[in-house]
Amino acid sequence: MSLCLENLVIRKKNGDILLTDFNLTVYKGEIVTLMGPSGCGKSTLLDTIAGHLSQEFTYSGTISLEQNQMDQLPAHLRQVGILFQDDLLFPHLTIWENLAFALPDTIKGNERKITAMEALKHISLSNLANSFPEQISGGQRARIALTRMLLAKPKAALLDEPYSKLDKELRAQFRSLVVEQLKQANIPVLMVTHDKEDIPSGSRCINWPWENDNA
């Protein structure tokens, strides 16, 4: 299982090139970090992979997951999970309902609540099950957002500066949780960040300007 970007070129509508002829393969269980300054197109690259490229941009090249091309697939069928800077938990749903929302449709009825509660227990936040997102701390929300993403059983994950809104202490704790959980999920993970400390130890990192990666 791998995420492959081949000959990817992203252009602005006015013709300016944001990313040129970019190749990258992220393997199963691997976390690859793309480093770059603000405005270099990190988030745009993730939007392209996830199927959310705005109308200001166009792209050419191939994006494939498990050797299946995703270019023509709508965003919701790509099975690519995303973790954003903001937790983006739904404020009208309680914590367990947020998790139940992400579960596959094969899990039905009361099973959805049971599964969501188990997932909460796994991250030691069972006591927050009936709270609303606004009632819990930023660190707790971040953990729940990660769990929600993984409960949808994605085949790849994209991390868009996921630690940037956490304070220093929380950031360190959350980093290790993210790495641990994603390793367990055993899926290809692509992270963009501008903070060197975010790079998981021993993982591959590509610095700006991004060179082609043919590994």
Binding site: G51, H52, H76, L77, Q79, I82, L88, H92, L103, A152
Partner: protein, 569 residues
Amino acid sequence: MLRLLYLGLIAVCILPTIPGLLGVVLSAFGYIPPIGLSDFSLSGFSHVFRWNGVWQSIGLTMYSAIISSYLACLITFAILQSCWNTTWWRKIETLLSPLLAMPHVAFAIGFAFLFAPTGIGVRTIYQSFGYDLSSQNVNEMALLVKDPDALGLIVMLALKEVPFLLLMSIPILQQLKVAQIEKVSHALGYNNSQVWCKVIFPQWFTRLRFPMLAIIAYSVSVVDIALIIGPTNPPTFAVLVWQWFNDPDLSLLPRAAAGAVVLFIIASLLIAFVQTLEWVVLKGFKHWQYSGRSGLTLPGKSLFSLLTILAFIMLPLMILWSFALRWRFPDLVPSQFSTRFWQYEWQSIVNTFGQSMSIAVICATLSLLLALIAHEYRQRYRIHIPGYIIAIPMLIPQLSVLFGMQIATLYIKSDVYSFWVCWAHVFFAFPYVYLSLDGPWRSYDQGLTRVALSLGKSPLHAWFKVKLPLLLPAVTFAWAVGVSVSLAQYLPTLILGAGRISTITTEAVALSSGHDRRITAIYAISQALLPLLFFSLAMLLNHTHGKYRRLSIKGLLTHESLSRKPRHP
């Protein structure tokens, strides 16, 4: 000085609700000393409930208000689901202003011209499909105009409220950050329709509560529209109460007042129903929101196209009717044209036009001044009248408060009709103007005023030279809202003017029940064009203040409040 002005505002725009409601309640119990009734009794209520068909009338009112309001809500959601953040949305935003500016009465008359048994709709069907109408009774063809089940009233009200709900939804959806919700939900495997049904709908619907309450209260109490296209035997309850108020036998006034109290109770019950329904759908049975990936794809683009086409057919159709000398059924166009009816009506129109404009401009200006005072006071003093109290005139049936206000005028000086009409217009226009300015005033950066003061300018100088220029587009728009609301007032003009003051709206409604469509069309055109004129003026001013526009529009759109949209109570 500001405190004194604020007290004046309370006296003019807030306190009259109390004698208004008190007056109608006392009258309902038979206590109206000015006409010699000074014994309390329940005969008013017993007359109401003994009236033949009253329960059917109440039923019609309740179901037409509920169905039309939720139909409007559903159509609005369908349009948002299909068009928000797409190229279509830009077109919708452009079309919203003219759709909003069209008054309810003009819309209803246009609707009647389209769907009456001899309207253009039936004519088109005949010409296109050769459907033989002679086999039908004309009354059987009245499916959408004065039909006994109020279907026409429901459809018309629903269509007319959609632009209002769309406008109300803009700040709501901007607050919700729809693009981010879509991104995260897509990543969780939900398609666009599912995201809108499962995630956006619950949040949008909760925030749409106040606009929904306003349109339900309006639908319950509407008289002018119901007179034009509503059922007649029995009519809706508001119309029935209005007919009772017009009874020449003054000893029957307690019946009318009791009807107004019942109308108030109906409106309150429906408001409670709306709250309950919202709780049931969003909180009581919440399971559907996280039960998996399902959702309806609604034909929002088609619905908006239909609404726009209908609205934009109405004006040319009214113009065509106003110049028709001979237009036999089932011809699609008149066989003879004439300017005769314009010539006949011209003098009368000019007079009524002048009267309507003067009242509207005076009332809108006063409402604007009062709204500015209210906002300035709110920003300076912690204790002030909360927004929901200011919004009360939007939520209570006009009939339920106007009668009491009329009784109150009898105790003061009843024969200064223009004054009382203007006061009633200000009373009903003020909440709309106030709420139109709410967003811009809240978004204004007070630091700018502090900077001006620190540079040695007086508070008045800072207000006129810094704050006002920045908020001027919003102020002009709020003024246009005030003009539009005032122009649309029907019951306040008739009740407090005692029938002696006529405006374009009262004339249009009166003529719509007659049989000459040409004259009705002339007044409907005038009624439709007047608010458009003022909105265009406001937009022109906004345009010329281009450099300030971004801030003011941001202010208007980002705050969750009642909008700049004039609704027509």
